[in-house]
Amino acid sequence: MEKRVTFKGIWLPLLLVLPQILITAIFFFYPAGQAIWQSLFIPDPFGLSMQWVGLGNFEYLLSDRYYRASFVTTAIFSILVTVVSMGVALYLAILADRLIKGSGTYRTLLIWPYAVAPAVAGVLWLFMFNTRVGVVTWYLGLLGYDWNHVLNEGEAMGLVVVASAWGRISYNFLFFLAGLQAIPRSVIEAAAIDGAHFWTRFRTIVWPLLSPTTFFLLVVNIIYAFFETFGVIHTITSGGPQQATTILVYKVYSDGFVGQDLGSSAAQSVILLVIVSLLTVIQFKYIERRVHY
């Protein structure tokens, strides 16, 4: 698509794009290129020279037990976060959509946790489940359950999943509610007149019409779980216990900055880059389809 009317000049537009070009080149393309370049080398222990290893870093990573475990952890974590946050949000949106009055009030009450940073959400949940002072831990103890996410891998995973999903409910709720309200009332009422009960209507009309929203949210939530939950994991578990909550992004950080293994960290960045590109392509493909139809 091109504008029919354009202004003349070559230097002015170049000047206008210059700030963005400079910033993107220095802080985006150069580092991204460096990540790809560094992934082909191993630096010596003193950081003085680099040794070319080709795809050696990748071969090593893919055969590394811990890296493969991190892949599985990330998959489990992302699926759980996506399912929990979308499930709760859909349930609340369906309820709010049934109201004639007041859905706006509930929307206001439900959307603001979007503003709470993942790292702050992590601190809040850590406080509730703290092994020494946590309120929930204490009441669980009364019920005879000994909560300890510092030692128990399953409990650690559960806690980071809930803390990550909690802040995400707002976002999903907003999109689900908008999707539900866009479904014509007349269609649903016609089905109701024909005697279709709530579940039948939901299964045969609402769910299919809502599927574009659901698909969109699926991709966006997976991207969120992959990249934006670092703060939750760093504040609650620091990847532990025994790396049970070390997702891929956390591993890039811990290998690169804590472990100073630059070659491996760069190779991990490149793998993440491929994953996020794939997700983005899926998303664009889908948007394209929606535009055509």
Binding site: V5, T6, F7, G9, I10, L12, P13, L16, V17, P19, Q20, I23, T24, I26, F28, P31, A32, Q34, A35, Q38, V88, Y91, L92, L95, A96, R98, L99, Y106, L109, I111, P113, Y114, A115, A117, A119, V120, V123, L124, W125, F127, R132, V133, W138, W166, L174, A178, Q181, I188, F227, E228, F230, H234, T235, Y253, G256, F257, S269, L273, T280, I287
Partner: protein, 284 residues
């Protein structure tokens, strides 16, 4: 929307059940924040001897003034200032450079335009988390560790906003630019007098989203602000936990958590319409 009364909405007992379900949901969302607020108003001994009270205590002013003026590593008032500066810098900086380049892409023909457009498109894909190590090296080489430039610049190096403004400029009627040209107005005059005022709502909506994005950054400030006086509030909270086995100063930490939430929550609730619009636009 709900202007008409249909037959599928709930009335009577069903209506109450619907409200009950929603209230349980709201309570689930609010509970962690309520607890944090209660913890920020009681004294440390009340917390370390569980269970902590579930209603606010009388230490509100003590805890908040201790957090704001002394904090643990750095006064929280200072961290709030850093966060505000960073969030504003990211929002304003990104909007400014994106408006200019989107204007150039849409309203001019210049060599390299196609290439430029595709380069911008590429940046839509890569979050900063993926390229942290090399970006850190760039910032260190520029001597920008512990500086506002270091906090802000890498986070505005993406083209989401450019893309958005380009989409919007394409919908602006051609007649406006034509009229401006006939009247002898130069391109920059057209930009400032016509295009910018027309983009007001889009700019505001994007501002809300970017402000929250900037405010809530965690990993990046964690890496490049080693000096406590440069910490932002969101990353500073974690630094307040003692290493080892000491007991954390929970009332002060929770007061800081509440303070960290207030500015972005005010933005979201106060500008709800713009916020929703911004979310929907930026995901299109």
């Amino acid at each position: 929307m709900a202007e008409q009364t249909g037959m599928v909405e709930k009335r009577g007992a069903g209506l109450w059940l619907t409200h009950l379900g929603l209230i349980i949901g709201v309570a689930f969302i609010f509970f962690p924040i309520w607890l944090a607020f209660v913890a920020s108003t009681v004294s440390q001994p009340e917390i370390v001897r569980p269970p902590m009270p579930l209603l606010p205590g009388d230490q509100f002013f003590e805890n908040y003034s201790k957090a704001l003026t002394a904090g643990i590593n750095a006064p929280v008032a200072l961290m709030l200032g850093n966060s505000l500066f960073m969030a504003l810098g990211i929002a304003i900086g990104k909007i400014a450079i994106s408006l200019l380049s989107a204007f150039a892409i849409v309203y001019f023909k210049f060599p390299g335009k196609k290439l430029f457009f595709w380069l911008i498109f590429l940046t839509l894909m890569l979050p900063v988390e993926v390229r942290i190590v090399p970006t850190y090296e760039v910032i260190a080489n520029f001597g920008m560790l512990n500086s506002y430039q270091g906090l802000i610049l890498p986070l505005i190096a993406s083209a989401t906003a450019t893309f958005l403004f380009r989409q919007f400029f394409m919908t602006v009627p051609d007649e406006l630019a034509e009229a401006a040209r006939v009247d002898g107005a130069g391109p920059m005059r057209f930009f400032f007098d016509i295009l910018l005022p027309m983009s007001r709502t889009n700019i505001a909506a994007l501002f809300v989203i970017l402000f929250i994005y900037g405010w809530n950054q965690y990993l990046w400030p964690l890496l490049i602000t080693t000096d406590p006086s440069m910490n932002t509030i969101v990353m500073g909270i974690k630094q307040m936990f003692p290493s080892g086995d000491d007991i954390a100063d929970w009332p002060v930490i929770m007061a800081t958590s509440i303070l960290a939430m207030i500015p972005p929550v005010i933005v979201v609730v106060g500008m709800q319409k713009l916020f929703i619009r911004g979310l929907v636009e930026s995901e299109k």
